[in-house]
């Protein structure tokens, strides 16, 4: 069975002047590869009607599937649909259903009719099948061109990515045959360097040649992706078991859920509520723990005690401890958490105090020194870390380290 070949076209001036890097292309490449397509090219083009038209015609001549993202907005620099229609010599036709939906959105939220610019968002090339966009005003569409297919999606990643999973892939399922789904599995690893993971899995890569091993560093975690060839899906389980053994206890989960959601789910399952106490992370731990819907089941309250006086007043950290050990110390981290547990209805908690940088470091406590405490009413433990990233990454990895410590604690697992 021949693999479907795909080309990706990403539209936007802003992607060509260094303002932002396109992320839709890599996302689509990952999804389409997992779906069984071979992605043969990925091109970023300006909001230029002629360039878009040429690229669409050239790609459709060479590839089974062409996915084009971006340039569906209401402003004058959004030229994608107009260019596609010209290149393929198709009329543009107003879709009354989607026009009405757009009107309702504007009437509900802005109390007025849509401005003229929005009308072009619901004009589609003749023969197009509209793909609904739940999160924006520009729907996408799929168009058959001979035996080839052109799919057009909006560019904003928050609209684009759900539409890849909820509209593009289901459309391919319904309309194209000859596809192959690969089976795969993702391990989520926190606390091991990528080179160390590669080193440990090298022997398995040699033994399981019918399984492809992929590594992706999405700070601060690393995803290990196993993918089985279509005729070797039975070997996937064996490989996954061995990977699990070799990387444990650094694997905190598998699949799509990231650490904050994994920890939240574990807390909810056990009926535990959490308090967060943060200095250098400034609210990041609380924010991550409340990103997931339903977080009121596990989030009790959070303290952002950025100043020393707030550590004393809100948490009762003794002035003597602050003076003797400094605000960045394991003793202060433990006192912060103890104070928070005493002053809340939470069952468990974690505290973070450190030097995120770029300023504030000393030779004794350089930038990246972070003290973390975790525990419950029966006891509080602590550890000190030395991170070597920039401010943003030091904060993020500190928040993850605190969540992972608490996660291991409530699982009753030993420290890694």
């Amino acid at each position: 069975m021949r693999r479907m070949e795909a080309a990706l076209l990403l539209i936007g001036d802003e992607l060509l002047c260094g303002d932002i890097a396109d992320g839709n292309g890599p996302f689509l490449a990952e999804r389409l590869t997992a779906y069984g397509c071979r992605v043969g090219s990925l091109c970023v083009l300006p909001d230029d009607g002629q360039a878009i038209g040429h690229a669409v015609n050239r790609a459709l001549a060479q590839y089974d599937l062409v996915v084009l993202c971006g340039g569906l907005g209401p402003t004058s620099d959004d030229r994608t649909t107009e260019s596609v229609a010209q290149a393929l010599r198709l009329d543009l036709i107003l879709d009354p259903v989607h026009w009405e939906r757009l009107r309702q959105i504007f009437l509900a939220f802005q109390g007025k009719e849509p401005p003229p610019g929005n009308e072009k968002q619901v004009r589609f090339p003749q023969g197009a099948e509209v793909l609904p966009n739940e999160l924006g005003t520009a729907p996408g569409y799929a168009l058959r061109v001979g035996s080839h297919v052109l799919v057009v999606l909006p560019g904003p990643p928050r609209e684009n990515r759900p539409m890849v999973d909820n509209a593009l892939l289901p459309w391919l399922d319904r309309n194209l045959s000859g596809r192959v789904r690969f089976q795969g599995m993702t391990f989520r690893v926190f606390g091991l360097a990528e080179s160390e993971i590669g080193h440990r899995l090298g022997p398995l890569e040699s033994r399981f040649r019918e399984i492809s091993f992929g590594y992706r560093f999405v700070f601060p975690e690393i995803l290990v992706k196993l993918r089985a060839d279509p005729d070797a899906t039975d070997r996937l389980g064996a490989a996954a078991g061995e990977v699990s053994c070799v990387l444990a206890p650094h694997v905190y989960g598998t699949g799509e859920q990231r650490l904050p959601a994994v920890l939240g789910g574990e807390l909810a399952r056990r009926g535990l509520r959490v308090v967060t106490v943060e200095s250098c992370t400034g609210g990041l731990v609380a924010q991550l723990l409340t990103e997931t819907a339903g977080s009121s089941a596990w989030m009790e309250r959070g303290f952002v005690t950025y100043s020393d006086v707030s550590k004393r007043e809100l948490l009762g950290v003794p002035e003597s401890v602050l003076e003797n050990t400094g605000a960045v110390s394991e003793a202060v981290a433990r006192a912060m958490l103890q104070g928070a547990l005493d002053r809340s209805a939470a069952d468990v908690g974690m505290a973070v105090t450190g030097i995120a940088g770029p300023g504030g470091g000393t030779s004794e406590k350089p930038v990246g020194t972070v003290c973390i405490a975790w525990g419950d009413r029966n006891g509080v433990r602590s550890a000190v870390y030395r991170f070597h990233w920039d401010r943003e990454y030091n904060r993020l990895i500190s928040a993850w380290a605190a969540m992972r410590r608490l996660h291991l604690h409530i699982l009753g697992a030993p420290d890694p």
Copy 2:
């Protein structure tokens, strides 16, 4: 004077299956744009000799400058130089100076002669000028093809990026004339729909044809970018003045600084310290305000009062107010902030309570209902919003709305 037009070609199978996203293209786009080039296309291609050859010929026919990155390694899947030579019908010639350098590297670090695969890294197409690579074994090269130029650079980002700054741009300086640095300006807009902005600026776009207007939606704000043609930089100021009039008071700043940093800077300038009080945003406001280095100058403390009991205990919100109006009400938002100001050393503050979704809405208070309070010891004001995004975006826009309200308050500006 015509701007130099450039095309970027990025080579590598790993960039097309979602394992990693190319970052060299966006980096080059930024550097070349700042240098005065217009980057007209950015294409990622597989390690496929024929695809590379076709792409090089096509790009050289259309663009003044073609920069090709990747596929210069020693292994069999690295085919770039061979493909370039075939496409341009040039012989490959061993460069004795760089071969000797490569030998010395291997003798010094591995104590042996280079393996055979490395030799191809120092064979260059006839007429190429070698660009040294301080950080790896594969040098790059520049090649004139008629009046057009092809530059080939290694793919690993830590070799590629220094070579852009230290080899590519200096080579252009030495060899090409006619480059132009052009001028631009960015307005940061919060609180106006993109279509409304386009509608308001349409007449200016027609009047200032020598200025390009770009719009970028980076939720929850919109960036309006003006860029002047090289011979029209004097018109930029006039256009910027008019844009400013038409969009005020929704323009909160210009340039690179986002709202949290703008607000932080304004607080620091006035010697004010802030307290954050958050329910549905769960620490997001505090986290955004502490992302910027030096935030201890303005951040005093933050409360994440997720449960009703924490609102009462930590902030003294009266039980009667919670019962009469519900936790999501302007009265509770004001009481939260008043309690926080009474219980901290902060001068100003803001409070957010709302229903981020997806659950928790009622017909009276649907998902997206968010109450915000802001002010200081002289008085606290409040407003209610109805957002219509998903949980993540409802939280983010709520945090921004609170920051912008406080920002306007400390500026002494009227509400928009």
